[in-house]
Symmetry: C2
């Protein structure tokens, strides 16, 4: 058998595992695996360095299937190259509940899945973060320990999503030359020909953002190999436009949208077997081909053996630090630094905005945690995300710790996810809370994957004032809290801000969002506690003087208002407690007993938050009083706005008294 025949058979193994799995599941997307099988064969047999026996090896090349609907391509390759958890049974269980082979690749389900993809454009967005992380880690650890490529396979859908433009322009700007994007240029989308909706010259588009661009026949394995080889030697990121036929091999459906997202059907499967000369039953890979694939897996792993030698030769402290960072563990001294900082805050009692408190906390954190990477979507001075330790990363110079993401909130989030997934770094990035909407698909994926990405969202209410309702979050706390497995913090002062940062950094299995004020807030945590009280999600900040008649729940800037209302109510003989609720999600994790205590039994309940009520009924019940927003905000001075919308100590106390006076004593 010629080499060319061998490689054709290897590609056909991908095609038929994919066809058969989709057929058995009676659901899925055969078109991409059939169209991209040649690309995957070239990439995984000739270029990718990886070790199926050590799938988490830090210096592996990363492969990201941005067109996640083609998941069977990835699953097939993982099985064929010998990843132990990707068994033939898993392939046969494609899209069945409980299998590792979900409809779209799910990070954490099987090894070799570097990121969860499916929502289009996200893998492209992630890939820039992977490639940037590689360069940042390389700047610290050198070529011996970190020196690998990031390959991303994307379809027309990925390239039409606006996110891809943000990714492309950022990668081009940063000259991330070890990023190689292979475009499955099949000219077909779900509705039919891509030409129904797009006429973009993609090569010119990428060139405009500083990319190297190449084109090749996506079914000519030598041409693909030549393109990848050239891409690896470029001083810029590279687009390879690989002209493919979707559903390659299917006699009647290839090249059409019929093969994109539906099983081929029994007859067409048989016809495709015939057309491609694949005479084996479903799910059977002939031993010569399987052996060739397994050998490719062994060959790809040689790079790891060499790396292990280099790693072993590195100084012990470098090895230890590298391993710590890749493991995600925080360095020694972190807790102590936070504790000392909290003590200082309690002594100083600063009156600053929580965005400033966040900067102060970061100044401490960035001093003891060398792997944090700051950034902002062009609001550095407003988000307060830059500290003395974080100088800018610039094109070609990656030895620093701050990313100017540009006005690209979505890509900031997607890139941060990529950095987190790469390992060794803890990215945080800022924008206005209102514009969390722009980044929402990536925030959701961070939560779904369960990874530590940290979103710094400032200007968190009408408190931002004059910029008006387009910039004033109203529903955003509710909308962000709605995302499962997502820690949404709204700290009330500098102490809570420090505590929330501590939790966010410790949270390895969930992303965090910190909602922070523009306006100054007094320190309300005036006594030091060893315990991180924010870990409780909600806690009694101020007890009632006497048997509590009222419980006020509040967050962030409205804690000051709650304390003001408490003073008024207590002055009128109504003992009132104030509960700070920095994080709904963490509160739900507490014991039933703790939760009952906090909720305050039969006291009159009130919540104050300069956002909508949605979600607060859980604390105050349907009969509780809510002081907050009932619609969009307005442009005006902050004090005018709070008065206009009735979010003041006086309004809160009055609303409570109205009910208290009706109550029997």
């Amino acid at each position: 058998m010629s080499n060319s025949e061998k490689y054709d058979r290897m590609a056909n193994a991908i095609r038929f595992l994919s066809i058969d799995a989709v057929e058995k599941a009676n659901s899925g997307h055969p078109g991409l695996p059939m169209g991209c099988a040649d690309i995957a064969t070239v990439l995984f047999t000739r270029f990718m360095k990886f070790d199926p026996k050590a799938p988490h090896w830090p210096d592996r090349d990363r492969f990201i299937l941005s067109a996640g609907h083609g998941s069977m391509l990835l699953y097939s390759v993982l099985y064929l190259t010998g990843y132990e958890d990707m068994t033939l049974d898993q392939i046969k269980s494609f899209r069945h509940l409980g299998s590792k082979t979900a409809g779209h690749p799910e990070y954490g389900h099987a090894t070799g899945i570097e990121t969860t993809t499916g929502p289009l454009g996200q893998g492209v967005g992630n890939s820039v973060g992977f490639a940037l992380a590689e360069r940042i880690m390389n700047a610290t650890y050198g070529d011996d320990l970190v020196n690998h490529y990031t390959y991303v396979l994307a379809g027309d859908g990925c390239l039409m999503e606006g996110l891809s433009q943000e990714a492309i322009s950022l990668a081009g700007h940063l000259k991330l030359n070890k990023l190689i994007l292979i475009w499955d240029n099949n000219s077909i989308s779900i509705d039919g020909s891509v030409s129904l909706a797009d006429s973009t010259n993609q090569l010119e588009r990428f060139q405009a953002s500083g990319w190297n661009t190449l084109a090749c026949d996506g079914h000519d394995q030598e041409a693909i190999a030549a393109a990848i080889e050239a891409a690896r030697n470029s001083d810029r990121p590279t687009l390879i436009a690989a002209k493919t036929t979707i559903g390659f091999g299917s006699p009647t459906k290839a090249g059409t949208n019929k093969v994109h997202g539906s099983p081929l059907g029994k007859e067409e499967v048989a016809a495709t077997r015939k057309a491609l000369g694949w005479e084996y039953p479903a799910f059977e890979v002939p031993s010569d081909t399987l052996d060739a694939w397994r050998l490719a897996g062994l060959n790809a792993a040689k790079a790891r053996a060499e790396w292990e030698k280099r790693f072993a030769a590195a100084p012990a402290d470098v090895r230890a630090e590298f391993e710590r960072r890749m493991s995600g563990q925080l360095p020694g001294g972190f807790d102590e630094a936070i504790a000392a900082y909290k003590e200082k805050l309690v002594a100083d009692k600063p009156k600053v905005a929580t965005r400033k408190s966040s900067e102060m906390a970061l100044e401490v954190i960035n001093g003891v945690v060398p792997e944090t990477i700051g950034g902002s979507a062009d609001l550095t001075g407003s988000n307060n995300t830059k500290t003395s330790q974080t100088k800018e990363i610039t094109p070609g110079n990656y030895g620093n710790r701050y990313v100017h993401y540009g006005i690209r909130e979505h890509e900031m989030a997607a890139a941060m996810n990529g950095m987190t997934l790469h390992g060794g770094l803890i990215p945080y990035g800022g924008t206005f809370l209102c514009f969390s909407d722009y980044a929402r698909p990536s925030i959701r994926l961070a939560a779904l994957m369960g990874i530590r990405t940290i979103f710094v969202m400032t200007h968190d209410s009408i408190g931002l004032g004059e910029d008006g309702p387009t910039h004033q979050p109203v529903e955003h706390m509710a909308a962000l809290r709605a995302i499962p497995n997502h820690l949404v913090f709204r700290p009330a002062d500098a102490v809570e801000t420090a505590e929330c940062w501590q939790i966010a950094l410790e949270s390895q299995k969930a992303p965090s969002t910190l909602a922070l004020t523009r306006q100054n807030l007094p320190t309300v945590r005036t006594e030091n506690t060893d315990e991180n009280l924010c870990r409780r999600g909600a806690y009694e900040l101020a007890a009632a003087d006497g048997e509590a008649a009222v419980t006020i729940f509040a967050t962030g800037s409205e804690i000051e208002i709650a304390l003001g209302a408490r003073a008024l109510l207590q002055g009128h003989g109504h003992p009132t407690r104030v509960v700070s609720v920095p994080c709904f999600e963490l509160f739900e994790e507490q014991s039933d007993g703790y939760k009952q205590d906090i909720l305050g039994g039969s006291t009159l309940k009130m919540a104050i938050e300069a956002g909508i009520r949605q979600g607060w009924d859980r604390f105050i019940g349907t009969d509780g009083i809510f002081i907050g927003m009932h619609g969009f905000g307005a442009s005006g001075e902050i004090s005018d706005l709070y008065k206009h919308f009735g979010i003041t100590p006086e309004a809160a106390a009055e609303a409570a008294e109205k009910v208290l006076h009706k109550k029997p004593h």
Copy 2:
């Protein structure tokens, strides 16, 4: 005075009104109005057709300030050209609560504001919808009645946002040659030089998507005029890269980020007055310059006088229909068509997915409402958005009613907003509910503006099955309901779907989202009602047999499960009522008495929805039973998923009985 001097003074009038307003407000963005004053002067004195006395004149040119932070540019021009509601007092009240001159331009606050901008990229996104609407209306009404340009002024921020790429590529594809984008190419963003974050060659980028591109000195009014003239004669949309100096005229801050978003300060204001030779006190425009501007307003209005003549000459039925469409009123026969269709449904009792019900409803609607414009973000066959009346709009051929938006959910929403704002059309567009996240910033703006844009969101739960958690909305109903002034519908069958569509079309002051199933659902509204019951937001679908012990609230596909649970519970002696809740927002608008009745007093309360609990406590209280999702979904067959997540009639009945047995009888 030479013409050139006159125009310079006219531009300076914009500059100083803006400088003075920002200074008085002690907040705002002087940099853009100062930098773009020459552009605005050329555009409004030499090209734009508009009539300050008739600001809603249908065939006016549209000017969209995508860089909304430069709002004072627009307010200044509106005042100077003589819009009656834009008084000098309004200019002096810039950014004060209750003024028409909000921090960012707010649609509906003052005439001449075509759309709300501020969140970057949105105006560019809208502009494609405006320009497309113009061509669609032109195709029906001809050059005599509809023939105008859409101008959009955008900054670097707008162009960095991914949304702009979706907009650019769609506009280029559709060859919208009456769209002219002027790029305020000032090389400055908030963090500093644009080169901190971007190196894109914007001209090449636009060319790659089929745009005509021009460049000019943004302070040479003759050069600007020549560029606009050339753009108007292009057969493609045009980018004009106007090289400007941000904060033009400020001796020490021009060309820097210091002038972007802060008042100049007293000294710098004085220095700028000196530098530009503007010797007038704050807010004073010398009479020669004001007269020149007012004359420009009168000249711009001449086109309207000619149009009125042409309009008067059109046949009466054409005039009447044109006016009806521009007014937003639905045509006669609409209610009757819906009523007849509902009757038919009740007779037929189809068992179809609500996405299919939606298509069936649209088949009726599109037959009687000629101004609907359908579309999908490349999921036409899945969203069921295309009917027999809606053929594709193609490049250069705008006489049809369906837009292939491509895989561009965000631009679809932004473009639909633009079409709605243009007037004469009712756009609706589809994607998967999960990907509403991609479009969220534009959905929010539709709600903030209070306009009738209709979002068709199918595959609305784990009921989509095998595609898995990346595609399964869980938190999306809650997140969409959180947006104020937004009607979020989740109909339970074909009858409710028809009713929800009727409400969505009638809703001229709020956008609507319809959440629709992939899976088939039985008809549960088996008796015809003249009343549109969905208008109530929630209504009793099935009364209890006997005095109700249990109230089950549910939506969409979970109504069937609620009815199943009701049957089980009633079989065990627990009379149970089922309340369908197609729209939370409309329920809140009902009378207190109605709401009390629906909420079901002291009955045991349960809600069933295949999403998260957030928001449901309002119906069931904190002690109610919630049957739904507690985290992300999973990839698997639909029946497996519903069982796995415990969303079945059996699980619901069991949960209710557990509580009922504890209750004293």
